[in-house]
């Protein structure tokens, strides 16, 4: 039973990480990007590539994962968001980020292959480590650090406060001389870097798999919606709830109904509290 709990907690933290990334990008652009899950996928794939194939040290692998994630985050903003926000059609960014997500998924599939490949051990550890296996604890710890880091960033640093200002009132922010374009770029870079990190940490759990992006985009979104758009604590709660639900349902009923259960959870929460558990009613998601 404890096994199931830890496994669920771990995968839940991966979902929570994606939800955190959604929040970071949403705060400065009011856009929910379909590429969010793919940023993590890239972290896992490139991390595995650097370490297993190129036989580089894991710190280089980590760097590669973060850099690739940041780069794709930057591309998302450049191609998927910037030009689109200038036009008046609301839903165009859904199409552009969907297109980018498809493109990157297909390219990775062609290059890396369509089979999930194992992610290397980062710390020397027996494969029978059971509950203490790093494949569970790496994502849990990294996601918690991410959440804490973001909290400190928003509350204690200048840039963090600028982010929050922009999310509250972009017009006022611009009027105060803040370059909202630059801030938005930065937030996508940051989100991408975090994604790379999260994907790298979760690699041993999820494997390096080209199709992971879409799964994470969807499940990360469910975590976000359940926890409440705009709330980082909500992201953690939503992610953990989803992860645990997944794990226990699979344990009791077999793994065949995972997606169904996940969406069931989402719909139940949305029916009762449409803005999510900790979401603010004011924040109208686009």
């Amino acid at each position: 039973m404890l096994n199931v709990f830890v496994a669920g907690l771990a995968i839940g933290m991966v979902f929570a990480a994606v939800a955190l990334m959604y929040n970071v990008m949403y705060s400065t652009s009011k856009v929910l990007s379909v590429t969010t899950g793919h940023l993590s996928m890239l972290g896992g794939v490139f991390g595995a590539y650097a370490i297993s194939i190129l036989h580089l040290h894991w710190s280089i692998g980590l760097l590669a994962a973060v850099l690739v994630g940041a780069a794709f985050g930057w591309i998302t903003e450049l191609l998927g968001v910037r030009r689109i926000l200038a036009k008046s059609d609301e839903h165009l960014w859904l199409l552009s980020t969907l297109a980018l997500a498809t493109i990157v998924q297909q390219l990775i599939g062609l290059w890396w292959g369509t089979e999930p490949k194992p992610f290397p051990r980062l710390i020397a550890q027996d494969f029978n480590a059971g509950l203490l296996d790093q494949k569970f604890w790496l994502p849990i710890i990294i996601t918690l650090l991410m959440a804490l880091g973001l909290e400190l960033f928003y509350k204690r640093t200048m840039y963090g406060k600028v982010f929050m200002a922009m999310s509250e009132d972009p017009f006022a922010a611009r009027a105060r001389g803040i370059s909202t374009d630059q801030i938005r770029q930065m937030s996508y870079l940051l989100s991408g870097a975090l994604g790379g990190l999260a994907g790298f940490a979760a690699g041993q759990l999820t494997f390096a798999y080209f199709a992971l992006g879409l799964t994470l985009t969807l499940n990360g979104f469910i975590a976000l919606a359940v926890g409440g758009l705009g709330s980082n604590i909500g992201a953690l709660i939503g992610g953990v709830a989803l992860g645990l639900l997944n794990a226990f349902v699979s344990h009791w009923f077999g793994g065949e109904y995972q997606q169904t259960m996940a969406v069931g959870l989402l719909l139940t929460v949305l029916l009762v509290k449409p803005e999510g558990l900790l979401g603010s009613r004011k924040l109208r998601p686009v």
């Binding site: 689109i84 059609d89 919606a225 996940a262």
Partner: protein, 340 residues
């Protein structure tokens, strides 16, 4: 009066052209492609009303296609029902599932709705695999043929053509009517739609259920054409394909998405390397269209004409006829409509 208008004449000419295809087609394979285009178009014509006219970004219709296909394969294949009846039931089942999907999700804002539809398509696949006894699980099911004269390739082609014509005609009727205007108002200005009394959720739901019915029928025909279906056929990327057909064809058009469907279905057959890179190509195409010509390739022609011979906003003074207005306001009696 309406039948003299150009859209229906275009449809008629198009049908004539399509009827002639088996005559000059080179081989069975080309007829197969033409039939596949027709089958996809049946689904896309319904989805077009949802995406292109009502502005609801549904990316999960492959799930409804799958439901239609499996329903047909089970009813007509496994259980030996009459294929025509099975097809009808598949359509109704598709409509019912459209209702079940639409009820909770159509009230959600754009991204939420899109994710819900995507999740739906993944759930359908999950359930198909899980209910192995019914659906053959990963192995799949055979899709039976229709009885004579539709069991031959050419015969089936004409059968699909006939059904596709009915759906196209129905779409045209909807689009050029009060309903069409109501749907477009939901897409372009929900505020105006509300002020004019359009029941937004109900209208979205009705169109969505109709698109589910079309997908169900399409699924039945698809199972028959492919003669064997497995869950691998109904991947999310197929939903993306349908969606791209509509977006590149242009919103607010019937001809555009039809040409989009025809071209995108035939393309991998003509350009072999595209077959492997299919999904990458659709992603690139979608990105280019969204960034450069969001109105769709259908509008590209208009845009080029606009550049060559710009049609300026002409200003002529307004010339009211107030006595006519007085008569109009007094005369036409108000009869309350029923579309609440």
């Amino acid at each position: 009066m309406k039948y003299l208008s150009s859209k229906f004449t275009q449809l008629f000419i198009g049908i004539l052209f399509c009827c002639s295809i088996p005559i000059w087609a080179n081989d069975q394979y080309q007829i197969h492609i033409a039939t596949l285009i027709g089958i996809y178009w049946i689904l896309v014509s319904g989805l077009n009303l949802v995406v292109g006219f009502t502005g609801q970004l549904s990316i999960g219709h492959v799930g409804l296609l799958s439901i239609g296909s499996y329903a047909f394969a089970i009813l007509a294949g496994k259980l030996g029902f009459d294929p025509y009846l099975a097809m009808l039931v598949s359509g109704c089942l598709g409509g019912l599932c459209g209702l079940m999907l639409g009820l909770p999700s159509l009230r959600l804002p754009g991204f939420y709705f899109a994710m819900a539809t995507m999740a739906f398509s993944l759930i359908v696949n999950e359930l198909v695999l899980a209910q192995g006894e019914l659906t053959g699980g990963g192995i799949g099911l055979a899709g039976p043929l229709f009885p004579a004269p539709f069991e031959s390739a050419i015969g089936f082609y004409y059968f699909v053509l006939a059904i596709a014509t009915v759906f196209t005609w129905a779409s045209l009727n909807i689009v050029r009517s009060m309903w069409g205007r109501a749907l477009i108002s939901i897409r372009d200005s929900e505020v105006a739609a509300q002020a004019m009394g359009v029941p937004i959720f109900k209208a979205k739901l009705i169109v969505f259920v109709f698109s589910g019915f079309a997908a169900g029928v399409s699924g039945a025909l698809f199972a028959s054409l492919q003669s064997y279906i497995t869950p691998d056929t109904f991947v999310f990327e197929l939903s993306l394909f349908f969606f791209v057909c509509i977006i590149i064809g242009g919103k607010g058009s019937i001809l555009g998405p039809f040409l989009g469907t025809a071209v995108l279905t035939a393309l991998p057959e003509i350009a072999a390397p595209l077959a492997k890179l299919g999904n990458l190509f659709y992603g690139l195409l979608l990105l280019i269209v969204v960034l450069v010509i969001p109105e769709g390739i259908g509008r590209l022609a208009e845009m080029l004409i606009q550049k060559i011979r710009p049609r300026l906003v002409q200003t002529e003074p307004m010339n009211p006829d107030f006595s006519k207005l007085t008569r109009t306001l007094a005369n036409h009696e108000f009869k309350e409509g029923g579309q609440k």
